[in-house]
């Protein structure tokens, strides 16, 4: 009885091994496995990302996260690893495709990998390319500095006491 069991066991292992061999032969037959999502390429015709494709596939989130903190806290606004530039490059302008749609650059992979991200609860999922702000008017009336020491002595009074009644105009 024990002998029979052992033989059956061996046979099973052999069958499993054969099956794996056959399966992997199929898997390697094509250049790309057919189930991988199709990721939209840059809209400007460029074929190179800011890092090699493999690196971006694995580590894009780290680049973006690092840039996020630098921009937020230190005002560093370089474009290389900015999320806005990912969108500007990979999502066509005036695109109707929104995040969540399989055709959207970010969703194409994230939907497939079932990784849910919340970037686009706040960030734009399509390019704006500067629409919405002019923002370039200068604010400083600067002459060549002459003195290197001036004292600003502002008259600081307790204004709370002079304010007796307030009314507020609401937000528009």
């Amino acid at each position: 009885m024990q002998q029979l069991n052992k033989r059956m066991h061996n046979t099973l292992i052999t069958i499993a091994g054969l099956a794996m061999l056959v399966f992997s032969a199929f898997a390697f037959a094509g250049e790309k496995p057919s189930f991988a999502p199709k990721v939209p390429h840059p809209t400007n015709g460029s074929t190179e990302c800011v890092q090699p494709e493999d690196e971006m596939k694995k580590n894009h989130m780290n680049y973006i996260l690092h840039q996020r903190d630098q921009t937020m806290h230190q005002g560093i606004r370089t474009k290389t690893y900015s999320l806005k530039e990912c969108i500007n490059c990979h999502v066509p302008e005036n695109s109707e495709v929104r995040f969540g749609d399989d055709k959207h650059f970010c969703s194409s992979c994230h939907n497939f990998a079932a990784v849910s991200i919340d970037c686009f609860q706040c960030h734009m999922d399509r390019p704006m390319k500067g629409k919405g702000t002019q923002g370039k008017n200068p604010h400083t009336a600067q002459a060549t500095p002459t003195a290197d020491k001036t004292t600003i002595s502002t008259d600081i009074a307790d204004t709370s006491k002079s304010v007796q009644d307030t009314k507020e105009a609401g937000n528009e």
Partner: protein
């Protein structure tokens, strides 16, 4: 430390700003300039600068809400027709003296305190002050507890109660986080002016001046030197970056 101490390490800034481009406002809404000197994009902001505003209440027209509309447009703030909970980064306030009935009108916004209570109370570090004095909420880490809203003496902060349908890409805003005036940090970092200040100038009131209060040669510093600029609730000792004339 004195409340009006805005001049720390000015010397180092003066040295750096020797090459700053000349830019001059010649008339409301008109800017005469050669090049807008912006900090290089890869350079971190520095404490040699402190951004501030000076608001002249004598020039601020009652009934005018140009600054409020400009802010809403610039930052994609839309009303849900629920005034009690709608987000509001800047609002017009009318102060009336009960005795004399004299009224003044002024815009109220985040005062960009040097010692901001909102930062003190924030349990996550989301509320923070940049080296150049601009107080911001890092909405990536804000948990929406709203402690900062309670701590702010100026009612400057709002909570996003509802899903925001983004209309601008320079100011990501979203439900469940607190937000307030950023002094248009996205513009400032590129050498620009906050939208409200620009709108006030375009409306030919010119009641708001924006600039570096640590640089003695900036327009705002000259005006502060000449006329002074009061803090609202100076008794709190927060050393606000937004100062007012005529209150």
């Amino acid at each position: 430390m004195s409340n009006s101490d805005v001049n720390i390490s000015r010397r180092s800034f003066v040295e750096k700003s020797a090459t700053a481009a000349a830019a001059l406002t010649i008339a409301p809404g008109m800017f005469l300039h050669t090049v807008a000197e912006a900090k290089p994009a890869d350079q971190a902001v520095s404490s040699a600068v402190r951004w501030g505003m000076l608001i002249d209440t004598a020039k601020c027209a009652s009934g005018c809400t140009a600054c409020v509309s400009a802010c809403n447009t610039e930052n994609g703030i839309a009303s849900h027709d629920r005034p009690r909970t709608d987000q509001q980064w800047i609002r017009k306030v009318t102060l009336r003296d009960k005795q004399t009935k004299h009224e003044i009108s002024l815009p109220m916004l985040c005062q960009h305190c040097e010692k901001p209570p909102c930062v003190d109370v924030c349990p996550t570090g989301a509320s923070f002050k940049r080296d150049d004095g601009i107080v911001l909420v890092d909405r990536h880490i804000c948990i929406g507890c709203r402690y900062c809203m309670m701590a702010c003496p100026y009612k400057a902060r709002s909570f996003a109660h509802e899903t925001v349908d983004a209309t601008v890409d320079h100011q990501p805003r979203g439900k469940g986080t607190v937000e307030s005036c950023t002094m248009c940090v996205h513009r400032v970092d590129e050498g620009g002016t906050p939208a409200c200040v620009e709108a006030c100038s375009e409306a030919e009131h010119g009641a708001m001046i924006f600039g570096d209060i640590k640089n003695p040669d900036s327009e705002i510093s000259k005006q502060l030197l000449k006329h002074g600029g009061k803090q609202i609730r100076a008794d709190l000792g927060l050393n606000t970056g937004v100062r007012y004339r005529g209150i």
